[in-house]
Symmetry: C2
Subunit: 327 residues, 2 copies
């Protein structure tokens, strides 16, 4: 059973993929399906290559099965059309993204741009969502370093919310709100963690998670496709700096969710309010405590955060400096 159902209370579409209950769960290193070798999911490749392939347990696919239930006026159902891809970062089982180095991450940025273009060109795809879940604390089921790409048949709810909000801002002020935010953060400085010529890394003014970071293009670029090769290099370099800072923060590879905000791919109407940025949300609030989402966040959508963004930005600046001094 794989299908999408519309929740009548919220109006949101949700995806069901019951075969995912049986997906591979934290296998031993010698049984890793993302490692090179026999009985693997990974196509043949040159050593060190980044490879992309369809998820063996997909939430979305090009030819999904028919829904298991009939739609009614109240309950809408549709096939889970789209794509679910796996992006394996390295053939080394125990690597993390920073082991790729800036050169390897730059190759990854080019792969992301390519998949954004290819998946976005499909008629049935409205939004390409590139992300990485890192660490057991965020629920990864395979340790081998990899990210994922979902190609959704609609603009997903949080992206839609932010685009609508950005549209209202544009109507009032005539500007892209993310352009205004990145300029304000450069000017204020208190929440800035790292920067280079093309990107700024900062803790958002109203962050949902204590050590949340956004890596935002200084100039308005709607997607990776709008970046020059030099700008892609700069994104790779700042990603490398930021994740090495995360890993220095508490002295272990910090679990996080990383994703990329880019323009919807079906038409041009969002180009002026879509501004490329990477979002990173670690779950830790201290070295040994997690920020759990519970009643207020999960059932009311009201985030309560235990740390001041200016304080966590200072922690992260120190961690980035420490990581830089040890390499």
């Amino acid at each position: 059973m794989t299908e999408r159902r519309r929740d009548p209370l919220s109006g949101e579409w949700r995806t069901f993929a019951s075969h995912r209950q049986d997906r591979t769960f934290l296998p031993a290193a010698d049984a890793c399906p993302l490692c090179p070798g026999s009985d693997t999911e990974v196509p043949e490749r040159a050593a060190g290559d980044i490879v992309v392939f369809d998820n063996r347990f997909p939430s979305f696919s090009a030819n999904p099965p028919s829904p298991s239930v009939d739609a009614t006026g109240l309950y809408e159902v549709e096939p889970a059309v789209g794509a679910a891809e796996v992006v394996v970062y390295s053939d080394r089982h125990d690597a993390t993204i920073t082991d790729l180095g800036p050169d390897g991450i730059e190759r990854l940025v080019h792969v992301w741009a390519d998949r954004y273009a290819v998946l976005g060109a499909r008629d049935e795809v409205q939004y390409v969502f590139i992300f990485e879940n890192r660490g057991e604390a965020v629920g990864v089921t395979l340790h081998h370093p990899h990210g994922q790409i979902y190609a959704y048949p609609e603009i997903p709810p949080m992206v839609r919310r932010d685009l609508d909000s950005a549209r209202r801002h544009h109507d009032v002020h005539g500007t892209c709100v993310v352009c205004d935010v990145v300029a304000a953060e450069r000017a204020a400085g208190a929440r800035v963690v790292a920067r280079n010529r093309s990107f700024l890394a900062f803790v958002p003014f109203a962050a949902r998670f204590p050590y949340e970071l956004h890596i935002t293009a200084h100039r308005h670029a709607a997607s990776l496709l709008d970046l020059s090769d030099l700008e892609r290099r700069h994104l790779a370099e700042l990603l490398d700096v930021v994740v090495r800072g995360y890993d220095a923060l508490f002295g272990f590879p910090l679990p996080y969710v990383m994703s990329m905000r880019q323009s919807p791919t079906d038409d041009g109407e969002w180009q002026d309010v879509s501004h490329l940025h990477v979002q990173l949300t670690p779950l830790h609030r201290t070295a040994d405590k997690l920020k759990f989402l519970a009643g207020s966040e999960l059932h009311a959508g009201a985030y309560v955060t235990d740390a001041a963004p200016e304080a966590t930005a200072a922690d992260l600046r120190r961690a980035v400096a420490e990581a830089a001094s040890t390499t």
Copy 2:
């Protein structure tokens, strides 16, 4: 530093309470601040009473401090006005809500109704949110059985989303969408887990979590205040049945978030589309695996669920029957 900040990207308000980093964290049983005795947070009370008091580490309070930063046109800030209360269910440290029995849960329902009325009458409170986080898997920091109440100065984002959606449904169909849903679930039956004369417990058609349940009033009631004493008794009885079913499902007390949807308290404009129901979302997808929220849910708001609601409803019916047969 305790304050509310508006996120310029989403338009949502978020709350910061940095003193909560130092809150009591999983103390030993003999140091529990919710137990009767010395050095306790709990006011004096008769044995067995349910007690309510202000959270010692509040996210919201009647007289919050001034914000730590100045507002700008882009960045809005306000004091975290409202209330954060703790509802201790029992003087027994190791009890759970079902140890109260239907009579004790009935007293709890009356306490909830009373706090909803008292907090909702405050000028600065727009929404009263009654909830329980149960189990370390959802991040509880105190094991002693208790729930919480947040009184927000606004209608929180997810509740606002659902009210707007319900308003659109009402404009088109002239009906309350929750009334329509509870009627559809009674008619279909496939997702119903338990019922009595006043309430229906069912897995939602597009549940976010595999074992999610809603306990919904058959008739349109906007809040606990609209219920008769007999209906409050029926709510208590069905809550007792459902949680005992949860605990029988995998043979251990199932961690969950529970909350109550009721009408906003500041005016009457939402009465016709606010329909009282309890939401319960356990995190487990199997006995030993959790449903983690990760990239798709946390950064795109797109829920992907690994189980068919009709299948989990069947599991829960069996668990409810098993729990009933052993008492």
